[in-house]
Symmetry: C2
Subunit: 421 residues, 2 copies
């Protein structure tokens, strides 16, 4: 029987060991995991095949089956990913804001692991390897809870990781998995504040709300983006077409993809048919309102146009659908974004310096863009080396979280007998 | 009737106005508050006198009455504090980690206000001014909830602040107060995640637990410290006496005061009577166990010595009491601290380089000291200019939180038409 108290205690003990490992020791463990994963590929694939067969028998969609499928090629990709994590710089141990105080005390902040993470995620086995290795790199222990459709695959992967950790003399409890599919265990994990320092949900709105409402542990929420592009009167319209196309269609299923297009009235009649024609080539459906609807219905472009429903500007589409609205100008664009944005990624396309400045000042989304695609809000694109999550909350981290965001700090204060006066 | 939804909406609207104020505008508002506070002193003192009279009638202790009392001198001190906040550097607008990406995008993080804070605090009217002005300085709106014993004083102070804000053309909803003492409103505030971005409880353990368990908003917990000093065999014992005395008695009622003294067996017989004699001068009671108890009972020093109870090493004393234990050496000292510390402030006194390094590496409290008093874990002492709280949690901020810790950041990404490839 799964005992979360026991798992939590073991995780905390493991975290204390991980916290004092050198970067070289952690990298050696990561390479051991990569080696073990390659060596145990047949076993992992066999377990995964059972998950896929069970999923097919349950009638999972082809898209879902594809997400949970591991192939030799995908597994080789995972092995390469683990080796890449070993090559990333280790943020732990970095010292910041060092100074000597007037009384001679030497003070700095030192970056340290957070401790124990609880990660709740959807049905993708690659996340198991991804999260486990990023946690190990930063000296954190982790308790994983994946989707039930990938239970066998995840357990096989965790066994591989634990075997590699044991080979290297490290505590296998550094990476643990809740193998009982009972949902009550999620609620219990969210209350394990005696041992767990941070909860990371990777899933939809319902999971995020569950975590926010039930967790007594700090939760990192994010990964849900209702993203906007506002095309100002002064925008370069050819570039605007390219940016809207990129933001909408380059990968429509992700959180930084475009959801709503806002257009200045002075360019709506010329811009909307052009962008619609471009989006039509990708099969994008336009949900438009008021003036935008009228222009799109009266012009030739080949795109499907539907009147926007009452909630259509509060949708994260994750699909080839785009809300379209003409706004009176920057004020209304900002007001629309402030009312509907999830504060993920919003962009203004303009050549007007003052408008760009106002947009950047007044829109407080995790990433604010001028003349660029919202798709850039990404750890890889921003040069962070790795991406743990994209946060839309205000505390700890916002936007793409890299390895440094899996750490915290302590103050280190070195003296020769100082007392406070 | 208090309507928290209305207050939340107004706070969020006010926060958007505050977020785009210049530092000069915010400082002018702070000086207006200082001026209004000085001008309305008689009115504030009259309301406070009613709180004090009511508290006396209810039989509050002299210590509690003194905490809620405002005098002309204390009010003048508050006015001076507000002017000092105006003089502090404004962290908002700072740009960090700026770079040009390979595709020409210009990227940086810009520091911005968090938005709306909810602060729940104990019966001290100075906290009302303190929190309101630190929030205003950092462009945050705040919803305050103070102790019921100071309701009249707090309402008078908030009226003063709101009058000054209105004079300066700023939204009075930037600083709001929940004037209904119904405790259900605290629970409601903790669920106001549509409008409130961060909860700061300033009170005891029970309030912190309530917030952690009931809040759907991120909570900053801290301010509760079970603090340790470990006196190693190699410590300079004269300095150790001074440090233990300072950490225990300089201000025993605060979170960074010493709670437990751990001593190496090789120096216990010589050190314990010396430190006991020094502490006896301040009336400190020693709660000792095992070898420490035996040594203290068999030596002359004048301090009261009591056998430590089973929970005495899990107490934040906030009083002239000190737990004392002899540990076998560094390993046992670290194990004791890891088992009992609230990860606030812990110190090793040693001349052994390797032991100091191990202590600093293995103890992950918010502040870790070598040869210094735990009393230094403080925003003023660490040179932060102001102190909002002392955090002992892992996310967002640890240890003393200054103005920068009342901010978050957004990524600003400026381009000329870039799309993601």
């Amino acid at each position: 029987m799964t005992n979360l108290q026991t798992m939590g205690r073991a995780a905390k003990a493991a975290a204390r060991q991980l916290a004092i490992l050198t970067t070289a020791q952690k990298n050696a463990a990561l390479l051991a995991i990569a080696g073990e994963l390659a060596a145990q590929a047949a076993l992992v694939l066999a377990e995964n095949a059972q998950d896929v067969a069970a999923g097919r028998a349950q009638g999972l969609s082809d898209a879902l089956l594809d997400r949970l499928l591991l192939t030799e090629e995908r597994l080789a990709g995972l092995v390469a990913d683990v080796r890449r994590v070993a090559e990333l710089p280790d943020p732990v141990g970095e010292e910041m804001d060092g100074r000597v105080l007037p009384n001679g005390l030497r003070l700095c902040k030192r970056r340290i692991p957070i401790g124990v993470l609880g990660v709740i995620y959807e049905a993708r086995p690659n996340v198991t390897i991804d999260i486990a290795t990023l946690c190990l790199k930063t000296g954190n222990a982790v308790i994983l809870r994946g989707g039930r459709e990938t239970l066998r695959s995840n357990l096989a992967l965790v066994r591989v990781i634990q075997a590699a950790l044991a080979q290297m003399g490290l505590p296998p409890a550094a990476v643990q998995y809740i193998d009982d599919p009972d949902r009550a265990l999620v609620a219990e994990l969210l209350r394990l504040d005696a041992y767990v320092d941070m909860i990371v949900p990777r899933g939809g709105n319902a999971l995020h709300r569950l975590c926010r409402e039930q967790s007594s542990i700090p939760v990192i929420t994010g990964g849900i983006g209702i993203c906007h592009v506002y095309v100002d009167e002064s925008a370069d319209l050819a570039r605007a077409v390219a940016i809207v196309e990129n933001a909408k269609v380059q990968r429509p299923s992700v959180c930084n993809a475009l959801d709503t297009l806002l257009v200045h009235p002075a360019v709506a009649a010329s811009f909307l048919p052009r962008v619609a024609a471009q989006l039509a080539q990708h099969g994008v459906e336009l949900r438009a309102t008021g003036r935008a609807l009228a222009i799109l219905q009266q012009s030739e472009h080949g795109a499907k146009v539907v009147p926007a429903g009452v909630d259509d500007f509060d949708q994260e589409w994750l699909a080839l659908i785009l809300g379209v609205r003409v706004v009176d100008g920057l004020d209304e664009a900002i007001a629309h974004i402030q009312a509907h944005s999830t504060e993920h990624s919003d962009s203004i396309l303009t050549n007007n310096w003052a408008y760009a400045s106002r947009f950047v000042n007044e829109i407080n989304s995790a990433a604010v863009f001028v003349n660029a695609s919202t798709r850039f809000n990404d750890g890889g694109q921003f040069g962070l080396g790795a991406e743990v999550a994209v946060s839309t909350q205000k505390l700890h981290a916002r936007g793409p979280m890299g390895l440094a965001e899996l750490t915290t700090y302590k103050w280190v204060c070195l003296g020769e007998g100082q007392v406070r006066v």
